[in-house]
């Protein structure tokens, strides 16, 4: 295409294009370096330091790492709770979200009403939704247990029972399923109609149609929902913290030092432990170790996401 005789002009053009690209990318390049690259390196640095945010940091080698991984009493429960939530919450969200998605595609009357009803809770700010659920499920004063009692069901203590606190959080997250519903609905409407008709001609029942027509077509979206769900749940923080604090009934404001994870550390997640270590106990080193553990798990999941593609990077990239 271009003539070979005009090499200097071509080089000038290439340089101009490089500068143009850099110019357009510059906000993000600065942001990535300052707000991602720097803090990540600093987190690694602090993980080898003893630092209480007042005196100068001193090098302690692997002491923070040993402390967190071998001795810290709350590390085990926090990791267990986070993994429990990742498995149970993500699985149920995907199943329930798909169920609601299927339901919505089959509704014939009042579609607009039902779709909006299923979607609205997703928009509720997490703090507001959590405050509302702590009230609704409050064993003494909440309406839910009152109703259940009236129809003869002995209701659990929800957020106040260590065995029920995490399931209560799952219930709260199922209420906010709207985003998954929309994604699944779009995927379900994309399944080619002819395939259903062909399957029907072959005498396929509802189950076979789902298994052999619907499922293969929506697998990438299910994959996407699972992976992003895992990443989101690993960051699970606000709802667990607010629910624990409010259900404990302790009448103190934010920023107050209380042991997180009420009741019995059953709602303590890894991100809460990072906050507690770094901003309440001022054990910067241990908090940074824990951050890096979280980072390692998040990166493993992200790598899986890239490998499986899951709709995030297209082939042309």
């Amino acid at each position: 295409m271009a003539t070979l005789t005009n090499a200097p002009a071509l080089r000038r053009k290439a340089r101009r294009e490089r500068l143009r690209t850099l110019g357009f990318l510059s906000p993000w390049l600065v942001g990535f370096t300052v707000f991602f690259g720097y803090p990540l390196l600093a987190t690694v640095y602090f993980s080898f330091m003893h630092y209480n945010q007042i005196e100068a940091p001193t090098f302690v080698g692997l002491r923070n790492w040993r402390y967190v991984l071998e001795q810290m009493p709350l590390f085990g429960p926090a990791l267990w709770n986070t993994l429990w939530l990742v498995v149970v919450m993500v699985a149920l969200r995907v199943v329930f979200g798909l169920g609601i998605g299927l339901l919505v595609t089959r509704i014939k009357s009042g579609v607009g009403f039902f779709r909006t009803a299923f979607y609205l809770p997703y928009l509720a700010p997490p703090v507001a939704a959590t405050v509302a659920f702590v009230f609704l499920l409050n064993p003494g004063t909440g309406p839910v247990n009152d109703i259940l009692g009236n129809i003869g069901i002995h209701a659990p203590n929800w957020f106040n029972d260590p065995a029920w606190a995490k399931p209560s959080l799952v219930l709260l997250s199922l209420w906010g399923i709207g985003d998954l519903m929309v994604i699944f609905m779009a995927a379900l409407l994309d399944v080619p109609k002819e395939q259903y008709e062909a399957a029907e001609l072959d005498g396929a029942g509802a189950f076979h149609k789902f298994r052999y027509v619907t499922w293969p077509s929506i697998t990438p979206i299910v994959m996407f929902a699972v992976v992003t769900g895992v990443v989101q749940t690993m960051q699970y923080y606000t709802q667990a913290l607010v629910a624990g604090k409010l259900a404990s009934g302790v009448s103190i404001g934010p920023g107050s030092v209380i042991q997180p994870g009420y009741p019995d550390h059953s709602t303590l997640t890894v991100p809460q432990l990072v906050y507690s270590l770094g901003f309440q106990n001022f054990n910067t080193g241990a908090a940074c170790v824990l951050s890096l553990v979280l980072f390692a798990i998040a990166m493993a999941v992200t790598t899986l996401l890239m490998r499986k593609r899951a709709g995030l990077l297209s082939a042309e990239d």
């Binding site: 490089r18 300052v34 987190t43 700010p125």
Partner: protein
């Protein structure tokens, strides 16, 4: 294009009977199917709607009744809402939430558009690496990097106790918005951009005059997402604003509101609805853009 059909379009019409009217047995089966689907749908809808209803009903009850587990208010205390607004600090929280969400959205949109455009339309070495880095940032739990960032903002820049440590970084692009906008910009045909260039438009001119007007729905979706993200954010304000109640946002203040009114569930529920209200009102006005954004993240690739 499924994005726009998601919430607004009616469902596909029932398949017409092939030529003749259906047999009575088939008609009865269809009717039973209709009843079954709608029964399940109504049951599900109750699960999604009743919490809002109970919260609202409690918000107008008297102090005592709100503690009783009653469902229906004996008297309607609309003054509860006035009491919430008269609580010291509540109006400040509104102002702070609006500032955080408003400026945050403005900064994010302005800084993310050029980056998304370059990633979608420029050919350069390292483009794939750049995309992987954007996605990695998107996936990074905020807790991983918060400690060193806090130390910089608090100890070097002395800006803790304000929302600026949350707002300023948004002037440098936001990974999620960049990703979403890029997915949207990929759908703009290259020919439009090339014809603009033939007409002598520079790259920046093309971006402002051709791409931005064409990408309005995508930009609207990103703006809404960012606004809601800031409005809902609890972790950020907790890190930077906790020490200074004058800098709290609604999402952060709500929990302390409950703690301060430890027995007043009615006022707390009124405040809860007031925190939800802007988001839900905006949604009803901008439903299409919002749903488009959700669909775009999940389905387009």
């Amino acid at each position: 294009m499924t994005a726009t059909t998601a919430l607004s379009a009616p469902s596909a019409p029932a398949r017409p009977a092939a030529g003749r009217s259906p047999a009575p047995a088939a008609r009865r089966r269809a009717a039973l199917h209709w009843i079954a689907v709608h029964t399940v749908a109504i049951a599900a809808a109750l699960f999604f709607i009743l919490p809002f209803v109970f919260v609202f009903l409690t918000s107008v009850m008297s102090d005592d009744q709100a503690l009783s587990g009653d469902l229906w208010p004996t008297e309607w205390n609309w003054s509860n809402y006035a009491d919430v607004f008269n609580t010291p600090g509540f109006l400040d929280w509104w102002r702070n939430s609006l500032m955080y969400a408003g400026l945050g959205t403005l900064f994010t949109v302005c800084s993310s558009i050029p980056v998304a455009y370059a990633l979608a339309k420029f050919r350069f070495r390292g483009r794939r690496t750049a995309m992987i880095m954007v996605i990695s940032t998107m996936m990074l739990p905020p807790q991983v990097i918060v400690i060193p960032m806090y130390l910089v903002w608090a100890q070097q820049l002395h800006l803790s106790g304000s929302l600026w440590p949350l707002i300023i970084p948004m002037a440098f692009g936001d990974a999620y918005s960049i990703f979403l906008l890029r997915q949207f910009l990929l759908t703009i045909p290259r020919e439009y951009l090339e014809s603009a260039k033939v007409d002598g438009s520079g790259e920046l001119g093309t971006l402002l005059r051709i791409v931005v007007p064409m990408a309005k729905p995508g930009i609207a979706a990103v703006a809404l997402f960012q606004f809601f993200y800031c409005w809902n954010d609890y972790f950020g304000p907790q890190i930077y604003a906790a020490q200074n109640p004058g800098a709290w946002t609604l999402s952060y203040g709500l929990e302390s509101f409950k703690s301060a009114h430890s027995v007043n569930w009615n006022l707390t529920m009124a405040a809860t609805l007031l925190v939800m209200a802007p988001v839900i009102i905006i949604f009803f006005f901008a439903q299409k853009a919002f749903v488009e954004g959700v669909t775009l993240t999940g389905v387009k690739g």
